[in-house]
């Protein structure tokens, strides 16, 4: 492998990591509160609000049912209004985030709902307020599950980022398509795939490790 190819791979990998990293952070910032809201307002939740829950649920489902490639194109005006352009790595972060927030929110909701209702009831019996139950019971008890939810979201974003690359976002996916596919460079294709596989493996292993450390159950 020559140094030009190597630096091309390196640049692409950094672009992918930037897109995935930034979108994951933003997805947590958006998805965590949304997920908490979904879980809390659900029937039997600590702030039961069936109407709000139904509206939020519909919005989230809508976001999740639109194919990413279409979403990406559809929100170009929105992306441009925030970043100033709709092309490039930074611009790709916006559709990635928009796609990841509802996904993340559902995963967060699921983790929170898995917390033993008995423990929540015990907190109620001790006079905990809804906010205290969220901060001191639901989130800490669900923490291992939340870490895994973030991991799954990030892994998913690696896949999405490859698609984002196809419309000028850069990154490993873009490289694989432009060189590997369009210029019949099987070697570049293979290299990017190997890097992607290693990236996903590494992320999942890290997530599992952190979750296991936080998991105080047998």
């Amino acid at each position: 492998m020559n140094s030009a190819a190597l630096s091309m791979l390196w640049t692409a990998a950094v672009e992918t990591l930037t897109m995935v990293g930034a979108a994951t952070v933003l997805a947590v910032l958006g998805g965590l509160p949304l997920g908490i809201l979904l879980a809390a307002t659900a029937p039997g939740g600590i702030l039961e609000k069936p109407w709000l829950n139904r509206i939020l649920g519909t919005v989230v489902n809508l976001g999740r049912s639109i194919p990413f490639i279409i979403l990406m194109v559809a929100i170009i005006p929105f992306t441009r209004s925030i970043v100033g352009t709709s092309i490039g790595t930074t611009a790709a972060i916006i559709p990635l985030t928009v796609a990841a927030i509802p996904f993340m929110a559902r995963l967060v909701e699921g983790s929170l709902r898995e917390v033993d209702p008995g423990v929540v009831e015990a907190a109620h019996s001790m006079g905990a307020a809804p906010g205290e139950i969220i901060w001191k019971v639901l989130l800490p008890e669900a923490l291992p599950g939340l870490v895994l939810a973030i991991t799954v979201t990030a892994v998913n974003l690696v896949g999405y980022s490859a698609m984002a690359g196809a419309i000028g976002g850069g990154g490993l996916g873009d490289l694989a398509i432009r060189y590997g596919y369009q210029r019949f460079r099987g070697d570049v294709m293979l290299q990017t795939i190997v890097i992607l596989v290693l990236l996903v493996q590494g992320m999942q292993m890290l997530g599992d490790k952190i979750a296991n450390r936080l998991y105080h159950r047998n």
């Binding site: 033993d116 109620h124 001790m126």
Partner: protein
Amino acid sequence: MKPGNHCLSERCQFQLNPRFREMRGEANLFRFLDRNHLFFRRRGFFIQGCGNLIRLQNLTKTFAGKDEVRALTGISLEIPAGQIYGIIGPSGAGKSTLLRCINMLERPDSGEVWVADTLMNGLGPQELRSARKKMGMIFQHFNLLNSRTVSGNIAFPLELAGTDKRVMRRRVEELAELVGLTDKLQAYPHQLSGGQKQRVGIARALATEPTVLLCDEPTSALDPETTSSVLELLQDINEKLQLTIVLVTHEMAVIQEVCHSVAVLEDGRLKEAGPVVEVFTRPKSEAAQRLLQGFLSARFEVSRQSPDGTLIRLTFLEERANQPIISKLIRSHQVDVNILFGRIDQMKGAPFGTLMVELAGPPEQKAAAMEFLEANGVGVEVMER
């Protein structure tokens, strides 16, 4: 049974009369007793049994759903301060629902829940949270926070109450010592046995110095040995801290071992309530008799010796146990008495005797014999005719 258990309660009850409560305003009886706790103890008064801490009036609860469930129907109950008060009944009787109505985890459809002189179902959300901080609760499945150590679990209600960090640490240590878990403070719940988990639950429930401890089947997930040790701890707490305990169980043995009084529930209705000794020796309701029959027959495996004999169970309270009632009976009636089994049980420390006997003779003589026994203060129950 503790001395003073009844005598003082009568004197205090008039003070709890609603008319007096209003007149007294802020200076309510319980705060007064609390402040003068030592004075009363030194003078040999027992705060225990002094008035009712909890009063339930005509509680009704229906669960809506595909087919409505009437969980509670017109339950009125008074729970004296300082007692361990048992609530027993078969599965689905409404025991848990009743217990959960006391701290409003379940809101009754109608009726009143008074704890000390607070009307629980009249409280707003913020007031209710404050009131709950003065009530502890423990659960069948412990319901500890898995993400926190023993120390963190015990500290949890203190955090909610905004307790100062240093005070909190000291209090956690005290509580751990009280329940015998000093060496487990840094362990996580999954590293503990069931009995140890329940001890954490108890320590946590006691952290904010509640006036009442609500227990929903606290020993049902434990083996017999651990059950005894947890019951002992509850008894210990009741005596040391003069804490009122309401204990839901489906096991008569638990009632017998620790409770002062018991309420029998069936189909959401209160069938009988009173001191344990009375309910055990002279059950009035069929529900109580059924529960006792199952409980006692499992422990005295006796059967009739002759086909025309009548198997009866006699129960004696301590003062009757010394009188030669059986020999008097044989002398005065034309019956044969065959003693099959006898034992003396401890009920909350007070002895009571049980005798299984078979009566043989003409039916009218047998009936007369049973009347004679009852007239002499012996509990009589026909097991097999």
